[in-house]
Point group: C2
Chain length 213, copies 2
Amino acid sequence: MSGGRAFVDITMSLDGFITGPNDSVEAPLGEGGDRLHRWVYDLASFRRAHGLKGGETGRDDDLLNEALERTGAVVLGRRMFDHGEEPWGDDPPFHDPVFVLTHEAREPLVKQGGTTFAFVNDGIERALKFAKAAAGDKDVSIAGGANVIQQYLKAGLLDEMQIHVVPVLVGDGRRLFEDLGTEQIELEGTRVLDSHDVTHLQFRPPKTEGGAS
Amino acid sequence: MSGGRAFVDITMSLDGFITGPNDSVEAPLGEGGDRLHRWVYDLASFRRAHGLKGGETGRDDDLLNEALERTGAVVLGRRMFDHGEEPWGDDPPFHDPVFVLTHEAREPLVKQGGTTFAFVNDGIERALKFAKAAAGDKDVSIAGGANVIQQYLKAGLLDEMQIHVVPVLVGDGRRLFEDLGTEQIELEGTRVLDSHDVTHLQFRPPKTEGGAS
């Protein structure tokens, strides 16, 4: 990894959802949305990011660890921030600078454990530029929600998408891919890894000429 | 394979569509929907089924050949039949008995090359029963469209789904998974095979107690 790459690393149901139905502040993952992330909760690197010891190791853990290790900064949407702020608590699991896309100016928030939230109200390109600067020789995680990922994808600003496909149909919720228009978007499959309960698909999305790479 | 299994074998875009937008009699795969099946057209077994010689061999061809070889009968919906009847021509690519789900009684059609179309107007279970009888020790392909596959899935009548995921976003069209309700449906991943331009995911869907297996 050369650093400075913008990547998405997200779990999706086989029917294309990244939350269950009716997500809200009370239920950020929607009804039953925990099911999607079940493959993650017991992994050693997930537990470590949440200040817990122990946990499972192996391929899934290696993959999650890889994503956590390469991350030097995070970009996320205002809605995801509003939903997450309380459950993330005083020591949020990012431990990195986080850039939150907003429409109004707002003072940064400094949390424990290395997480800072800075609010960016002049567009996704600028937020990514700040995040790349903050990440140094590490990469930038475009963490969500779906709408934010779609904006970066459409703008041709993503270097990589890793989608963890879970073999469950949730029927409703937030779709990872939506409102992208009907001009076909070609991705390039770059890696497929399979483990017991989840299939990890990695893609290279199309980049716009002149987008940082 | 012990025979008598009901299986789905279908190509889906990464964003969940099995056709492009606005499918019709004139464009059965929707606008740009050919893209989804591009991985198939040059394969030796596809060409053979369409009366052509030559073509590519390898993993993709092996998989397609496996699906064609195991098929002893086919079930499909009326809409798919209406869209396909003309392009399939006098020697349709099935070469097997085909059972078409309809709402009205209709005489069977006998075509060249072993394809017969029988019309079943008393439900999906009965159509599957006929198809299994016709298939003998081979399997039954539930060929589509999406709505028919969803009905069999919901009814717990499918033994296997093989989904060929193509790394393209088509934006609109017929979704493979839709209108299934919000009660989560758990599938079991049974095989993942990857080739250059397509990832083949095989699943075991939930079966209803008493469903033929």
